[in-house]
Symmetry: C2
Subunit: 452 residues, 2 copies
């Protein structure tokens, strides 16, 4: 559905609600795919959403929740009255229900669970963190045994009629419920009916434990092109399976997280979220930024006398520091992304450093040359041009080095390599850029004044 249509539908529904025509509002929504219902719902304001929550049936509400981004889902679920919530959660995937229950107080969660039909299934997922394999997994609706025939297996499917489409892979467990293989539904259908599952199954099943982090789950499923990844306990007993649909969301979340963290933003920030929320989330980092900027300012103040004599230093100084920042932020972005995608590891640090220093030198010769030339043409001061050119090359090398070291060091410290790395980097490139340029200029001040 196009954005424009979403906006128009949301406006129509809002109008119907305001004008006291609830059935019109519900009707307008009902014709849509639940994914689009969720998009339209999110466009409504809080009061309108609350009206709709009371008008929709538990399974309609469930479908909408299922298709919402996680933060919005938890927020909306928190506004549903507890009695209704248990009926709504019976309609959603168990991993989604568990996420919602995690947000409630223990007493509330107990109350909601107590009224749920799917209680047992959801309860098994509750011990795991939202961002672990255990938190992402779904219960496995049907398992096969190696001693079944393909026909037995198909009959089992016909009898059980699993109501989701997630049975494209069927997992095979032994007499102790241990995972021993996997068969695709296609293999089952095209196999000779008498073939034993044990013969057609693939015994090499890639699997994870429930505590595996979602980033690792996403990396594995992407690396091996898996549609579903089984989760097993220490004895290899099958606990559940993670579906590719849920991992797609994880991949987007992790990419957002990296982008946001690099610039010191919280991943909770939303483009159209409340102002107060953005202020609360951004202010602490901006304060940290402010004092790192003052640190760079303090370095400049050490050279106040030189600047008082040759004020044009103040105009060239930000060119040196800014260019170092640009160059370093490019390096850091490449490193962070490659670390996140598993293309490189901390053991590559020396190769990376060597490469970045070479790049900085090669680019630095060109950029330093242009800097010197531009300063010479602009101010006609050869000494100043030489100082600017040399400082530029040195600061670009500094930027390349810190661009590698900062994310790798954060990774070694078991922190997210992206965490505020942009802020840390520009502090280094500013402080070093100012110090190198103003330091050199001060050493050669007589020459600069004579050339001016």
């Amino acid at each position: 559905m196009e954005e424009v249509q979403v906006h128009e539908l949301a406006r129509n529904i809002a109008r119907a609600l305001r004008e006291g025509k609830p059935s019109e509002a519900v009707q307008a929504l009902e014709g849509l795919h639940p994914a689009d219902q969720a998009t339209v719902f999110r466009e409504l304001d809080r009061a309108e959403q609350d009206l709709l929550i009371n008008l929709l049936s538990p399974d309609e509400l469930g479908a909408i929740l299922e298709y919402m981004p996680e933060d919005d889902r938890l927020e909306v679920a928190g506004r549903i009255e507890l009695g209704t919530l248990s009926r709504v959660l019976d309609e959603v995937d168990s991993d989604v229900a568990a996420d919602v229950l995690h947000e409630l107080s223990p007493t509330e969660a107990e109350q909601v669970l107590g009224q749920m039909k799917e209680r047992a299934e959801v309860e098994r997922l509750l011990p795991y963190a939202d961002t672990s394999a255990g938190g992402l997994m779904m219960p496995v609706p049907i398992v096969l045994r190696p001693w079944m025939t393909a026909e037995d297996a198909i009959n089992l499917l016909r009898r059980e009629k699993p109501d989701t489409d997630i049975v494209y892979y069927l997992f095979v467990v032994d007499e102790n419920d241990r995972l021993v293989g996997v068969v695709s539904l296609r293999q089952l259908v095209i196999a000779d009916p008498d073939t034993l599952i044990g013969q057609i199954m693939d015994p090499q099943v890639i699997h994870v434990g429930p505590d595996t982090d979602q980033e690792e789950v996403a990396r594995l499923m992407e690396h091996y092109d898996l549609l579903a990844l089984p989760v097993v306990d220490r004895d290899r007993r099958l606990l559940g399976m993670v579906l590719i649909e849920d991992v797609v969301d994880v991949i987007e979340e992790e990419a957002t997280e990296d982008m946001f963290r690099m610039v010191g933003l919280s991943e909770e920030e939303r483009a159209l979220g409340p102002v107060s929320e953005s202020v609360r989330l951004r202010l602490p980092w901006l304060i940290v930024n402010l004092y790192t900027a003052f640190l760079a300012g303090w370095v400049v103040s050490l050279f106040e006398e030189s600047i008082a004599k040759v004020a044009i230093l103040a105009a060239i100084m930000p060119v040196i520091s800014g260019q170092g920042g640009n160059d370093g932020i490019q390096t850091i972005t490449v490193i962070i992304r490659s670390l996140a995608l598993g293309e490189i590891g901390v053991q590559d640090v020396f190769r990376l450093l060597r490469k970045q220093i070479l790049i900085a030198l090669a680019n630095g010769v060109v950029i330093g040359g242009l800097t010197g030339l531009t300063v010479a043409l602009w101010k006609g001061n050869v000494a100043l041009a030489v100082v600017a050119a040399v400082a530029m090359v040195l600061n670009m090398v500094v930027a390349g080095i810190f661009g590698v070291i900062i994310p790798v060091a954060l990774k070694l410290l078991r922190r997210d390599p992206a965490q505020a790395s942009g802020v840390i980097l520009t502090t280094f490139t500013d402080v070093c850029g100012f110090f190198i340029f103003l330091g050199l200029a001060t050493l050669l001040l007589n020459w600069i004044e004579a050339s001016g």
Copy 2:
């Protein structure tokens, strides 16, 4: 497989190759999952890779190519002798084969195609761009008809024995080969054998044309939680299907592209790629950066006289501009990501502006206050403190405004909102930051000098 294991295996294979024990090298590789074979292969140097290319069978090479990132795949395929290449491409998915053929000269491509068994299938994909739905799609191995029974359909599957696992959705076409519905393999298996496909199929099939951009394909598949998306021509005739596995790669690529473009990097840049490549890719933007930085430097030079009188202005000036840059880059990151995920559109620009100005004012009051306080305590100059505080608030508002306007304007101009937006933004925040602070300071220079 762990990184450490990959490195060790790659070293062992390299040693075996160097010591003239090719069968050992091949053996070490053969026990692995093709995804891991690809990872190990990429660790080898060019000469080692070339040796292996001659040692491996076409289907082993095909499996390795299939699991490589696109750029590496095209580079390696370009080194395979054309006669072998046609046998290798017979073993890979048709969309992968088409991508490889796109990179060859027309004569070479014709030569390779001429020797391929799967020629017809691959030829149908050739007209489409790599980054369109047509370039991502696979041929549909089996289609159903509405007048078949579930039993007919299963018998058809048994007869045709499609050799891939991609048949979890089966598309239904009418007598004119027009797409009319979709059935999941699960529905087929659990249905009563006499049921007509026309009765169990879902006639609402979300589909795209072959020219739909891959970003839109990814957005649709994610939005509707689809495992496969059919591609149809203008008459709704089925051309192929895009699989979720391929879209996962697209989602990662697009996220990388946004992160890289924001900082003026090319998406071709690789952490461990050749130095010359990185220099070639980065240098043009760094030169643009340099002259935008000189523009900011020129603004500073306009106030040379004020700086000569009160040199400490040079120390406070980068605090104002840097903080504006930090604040603006946060805003721009949120906007770019939300545009990419389809959470907001250009029509939201006024709401976004209003929000960002409010955030900037709220944060600005705190940050401006702290700036004033810090300057007052550090330099004991009340006038300077007031100028710094006011300039800080104004520059943060400027940063908020440009943080919204730059990506939205790029989107309206049908450019990528991320394209170099970080560079454009810091140009504005530097130029405005210097101008506002030094301009105010110059207006109030007497007061500042008297307070000092």
